[in-house]
Symmetry: D2
Subunit: 251 residues, 4 copies
């Protein structure tokens, strides 16, 4: 399966890293906003030997329609910025290229656009695209469903410089209907990222813990989505839609 | 709902403790093998003020048919020994009393009997009846289903004197199809019981942890089963059968 | 070594439990405020077979001077209330009975009295007398000494009903000179008590964790102090004074 | 303080990374076995802007005596290979350059050489040079000293491909006089490195945990040693010698 990657910041590079090393997927090209490294190979830049072309293009100098026609792909994976979807969305949907967006925040106009695009192609959006965090959300809400009265608290740990409550912790709290006071934020040293959901029962405790090791987890997550979206029809999908069939097949 | 409890060892006492304090359930009687405390009240013995009768009877001096007729119950909860089911099973099933057995090991003859009884009444058996451990099994097998190639190891911790791998860890390994070498057993001091399932992905780690606080967790689990078995028809049930509907309703 | 125990509430009972089972110590008597169980044996009451006398006396009916003369002891261990030291302190010090107090809070008058008593006998006071917590305080302050700029946060977990920050967490914060915002309090279910001190370095994390299993830890701590106070001369001691020689002998 | 770094593999690069960013230390040069990147700047290669010269030299083309005379340093930090000490040891010691070696394994001839060198200059060797692991060893042996009979087990977790028990876990076991069976090795996914020492008491549990985030921890450790070795006289030192004064000053 052929992939076009949009965005080549820290997350984008980590995602390229994972795609380049995966034998089922080929990184056809990378589209970034700046012109740095333009026309060079993402694999070479990242020090990975891979048969994938992975040429880097800049939005400043290439036309998206031309890029999609000259170098067709099955999926666009978007780790760039909120507005990019306006640039490539319609061109991709017309060509029935499936869209996988991992953008953190979308406004109303982007959400509206996603809905429009989903009429023409399978369109996926998840602000956090790691498998582990999404599993955690799913598993935690199931336990809350089983035991509605259980006490729940969240402890999230990150590096000292991270300000505010982590977006993932906020999402956990929303999903489980917790007050913000139930989130405990630890900021210390270089901790990459840890989320722990504590379920306190009277005579036992259950803990669901997710620890991030590196940003490459975004790449694994995006490819997991691609694998599961491959045979999906047009429509708008989120991560829960991707996970749910596994639960049914289990049951 | 009225409950008759069979078995009054350490686990049985802890279960009685929980039933006596739960307003939706009444502990009608306790049936034990010895004659110690015979005819006295379980609540008084445990130092719990409760309106439940909770009279203690001995298998040595009372006839099970008479007990069930004089003091009818909706559920029998069995925390006694492997053979007890032969003593009370048919009498209970004929009266459509639902059976909840938490016996650790049953041989072929007991399993056969359970199947027979389940034609007449809702019959439940689970060697580990805590909600937390059963949720852990369920949630772990779901994650393995999603990510079949993930590395899985188990760390279980118990008090120094506990010999052999814990039954729960063995069950986890069976459920997840792990080699015994993937179970790490820590024996130290007075640790009540901790099970951790570690899912190692290349760029992230997920941990599912269960910590036991006290044996009363058996009681909570048994009552959780009773609540969910209340409206169930005849048939043979295990803990996964009880949990599955929560997953579907979620989905 | 002979011990007289003052206080027979939840903590006192757990301490009696440990002393009765320790072969190097004999529980001579228990002195409590109420008259419940007066003159009966602590061992019998707790269901422990022990050769120790362990008779229960009430402050309402016995004179402390007479008790100390009729049933002499080497140590008084105090798990009762703030004011008790006024009742037994001078009588104990005159007889050179060593004093081990685990009272949570002492006012100025009690602290003054302790100083006075310490002129006549070895006098020990620690608001938290478990070995684990005191080791944690010691070990944590050493690491802070080594790495003064390290980021430190505390996570403490207790049962839902516990109100306010735990006294131990406050003590940790004072010892390490942390702001109260660095303490994260989790309240969920029946967690007995867990304290974790997180040291965040840029490229590594160190965690010191203490988990309480039961109140009997107070008993072990008190006997540890007794063993170490046995050969100590007059003077006022706290837990750090007891631990320090171990660090020197190591070095 | 001026530093010469020997070795520029994965660990060496991470150490250079840390030195280049530390204002109290200047990376004068790097000496490596290969000729790759020869004469280029370590800072430039690592993408770090730093005023330090940090020129890369190759053992194949430069004479160590000339290097030390043309580009004098206060410390040599060695992250290369077992035999390197024979190459630079005498030349460094004659110039009273302090030596900090983080080589994993030394044979008898290297240990003998270190002893010889230590007559002329402060010579330090530690197979694991991270502050956290060495603190863990120290703190763990102190707790064992306080409570000789406590149950101790070690759980170490690393990435799937790591074979054998971790060297750090072996060192912990040696230090605490544990059987190899007390070490539990978990191998899963991409876990960077975690060591947990569990002290099981009858009524409480103490855990000392070290988690590695990245190899840069070696650099922090080496500079911590340098800072503490700065005013040390000739002699042979290990990490415990460096830590011990902190414990005394505390006490």
């Amino acid at each position: 399966m052929k992939i076009g990657l949009i965005g080549f910041g820290k997350a984008g590079k980590a995602v390229a890293n994972v795609i380049l090393q995966h034998k089922d997927f080929s990184l056809e090209w990378v589209l970034r906003s700046s012109r740095i490294m333009e026309k060079s190979s993402a694999g070479e830049f990242l020090g990975i030997s891979s048969p994938d072309p992975g040429l880097i293009y800049s939005q400043q100098t290439i036309d998206i329609e031309k890029l999609l026609d000259d170098h067709p792909v099955d999926f666009i994976i978007d780790f760039s910025a909120t507005t990019s979807i306006h640039m490539y969305g319609r061109a991709a949907a017309e060509r029935e290229i499936k869209i996988i967006s991992a953008i953190s925040h979308y406004g109303e106009s982007e959400k509206k656009l996603l809905t429009d695009l989903s009429v023409q192609t399978a369109t996926f959006w998840s602000p956090n695209i790691t498998l582990g965090v999404n599993y955690l959300l799913f598993a935690a809400s199931l336990l809350k469903n089983i035991a509605p009265g259980v006490d729940i608290e969240v402890v999230e740990e990150h590096f000292k410089a991270k300000s505010g409550i982590s977006g993932t912790a906020v999402k956990i709290a929303e999903t489980l209907d917790l007050e913000t006071e139930s989130i405990n934020s630890v900021r210390a040293g270089g901790i990459v990222g840890k989320h722990e959901v504590i379920f306190g029962f009277p005579y036992q405790t259950v803990r669901l813990v997710h620890e991030s090791i590196s940003r490459e987890a975004f790449g694994s997550g995006a490819l997991f989505v691609a694998q599961n979206l491959k045979d999906k029809k047009r429509g708008l999908y989120n991560f829960e839609d991707i996970l749910r069939p596994y639960f049914f097949s289990e049951a």
